[in-house]
């Protein structure tokens, strides 16, 4: 089973997205043989009140819960975030969060963020963090949002050993403690593959060696990205079929309790 842990619905402020409705995303998933996808609101990245994006996603996936698994975008510095988290979890059935600390202008080490991570963890929710939304070089003239440095993630995973973190759209983990063997960090994080190399430097292969295949998950970034590059990575990856199965969907199914 292919489970994409890195998908989105809705509009993005700076570029038109195709396949950004539930119906069209599902059609794309059918074409690419992707069974299920974790989705969150692309619009909530730039909405001031991110909860409006969560409501849009909840409505969009209502008839497709067998395949589209919604996550919530929550800003721990915005009024009412505790209420939003409760609604997203209890009413919308959202199994995790997507955090945008750079876009929402807060620090992962801030007390508010730490409080939100604890609250989500108490609810058993996964905390996913896109390290970037777009390549910074294509940014609009209106803003300059940096990628999240991996060092900030290292501190976060150390501070919340009981939380479950899913790192999206990242690379260079092997140059950080996050991707090293015996790194002394809790095993509370998994890494999604959409930007990892599978040939040449082969970061994906290195991470399997260093962390184990249990810690890697398939993701595409669609509809921001073409899904095919991520699929091609799994096709050419030099790994056992059992490891590939874990990455394709078994690990995600375990984390998502499917």
């Amino acid at each position: 089973m292919n489970i994409d842990v890195n998908a989105y619905l809705g509009h993005f402020a700076f570029r038109r997205l195709r396949h950004n409705t539930a119906t069209s995303l599902l059609a794309l998933m059918d074409a690419k043989k992707i069974d299920k996808a974790v989705v969150s609101s692309a619009a909530a990245i730039t909405y001031r009140n991110a909860q409006a994006g969560n409501e849009e996603v909840a409505e969009e996936v209502r008839s497709h819960r067998d395949r589209l698994i919604p996550f919530a975008v929550v800003n721990p510095f915005y009024a009412g975030w505790q209420d939003d988290l409760k609604i997203c979890h209890e009413e919308f059935g959202m199994k995790g969060l997507r955090l945008y600390p750079k876009w929402h202008n807060y620090s992962l080490s801030s007390p508010s963020c730490r409080e939100m991570v604890d609250a989500a963890t108490e609810r058993g929710m996964i905390i996913s963090i896109p390290m970037r939304v777009e390549d910074n070089r294509e940014r609009s003239w209106l803003l300059n949002i940096p990628d999240i440095p991996l060092d900030e993630i290292v501190e976060l995973v150390k501070a919340h050993p009981k939380a479950r973190f899913l790192l999206l759209n990242g690379l260079g983990h092997t140059g950080s403690p996050l991707g090293r063997k015996n790194n002394g960090l809790p095993s509370n994080y998994a890494i999604e593959l959409s930007r990892l190399s599978a040939v040449l430097a082969n970061e994906l292969g290195q991470l399997i060696t260093n962390l184990g295949a249990d810690r890697l998950m398939f993701g595409t970034g669609m509809p921001f990205n073409y899904p095919d590059p991520a699929l091609v990575k799994l096709e050419v990856l030099d790994a056992s079929e059992s490891d590939k199965e874990k990455i394709r969907g078994q690990n995600a199914a375990t984390w998502l309790r499917l």
Partner: protein, 314 residues
Amino acid sequence: MNGEANSNPPGSRSGVSRRMLLKGSAAGIVALRAVGLPAALAGTGGRPASNAAGGLPRQSKVIDCHAHLTHHSRRDWEADDRKLIEAADKLGIDQLCCSTLTPRWPASLDGFRECNRWTAEGMKRFPGRVLGYCYVNPGYTGEALEEIRRCVGDRGFMGVKLYNEYTCNEPVVFPVVELAIELGVPILHHAGHSHYFVEEQPRLTDSGHLAELARRYPEAMLICAHISGGGDWEWAIKAARPTPNLMLDTSGSVTDADTVDMAARVVGVDRLVFGCDSSMTAGIGKIRGADLSAPDKEKILGGNLMRLLGRRKA
């Protein structure tokens, strides 16, 4: 070490490492080298018949128009070159058009000559798989032209690679373009467009500059490098639209959906050439993901570049 460093080469502003420019743009530097062009183009060397990256049309040759061999100052250059060929094997890429770039810019005369010698050696190490671009700093006017004649005429290189020493519409570049026209070979020009000043590349060319150059030289075969290399690709595609002799290379680490589709809509599939620039799965995946017909994908994957290479003059 390469032979650069003592004096400031033409185009000097600030020395910038390739590593810095590649930051966020895929893997490290890779390398290769081939045999005389016409023979190399005739076959696909030892590439396996299977295509691991299924789903792509395979009627004609798949040619990566934008690849690099590793600079020999890197300890693992030979292994890195082999990895490039292995990656091409896995992905069903028959041939790679490679340049070797100096690790710092602007390139010195000794620096680019040495790189081209290594490219020529790479063509021999991987016969039929590696085609060569002759890389020059146009600021060394006479020597650069002489180097291009030697590489294209004697060593069988397939084209010219220009980097960021000069913006392509500066007059110092014109003699290189005129020689490429005379020889009938394409020029692959490094390019990118961001909505801010790129300090590390003060003379960065974009597709608008290349369109201007293409209008000045309608016989030139110009290739705008990596529309997925990081900048605003929608801008890059639109700026290239009016000039039929300007091709767009699809390479780069960015895998934004609709890139190839929009390029096909705006400039037409006949002006697109497949490339990876070391982002191998991204390069193949984007073509596979584009909502285009199989014949159109075949053109992008190799047919269009073959058409350009067919215009080579003896």
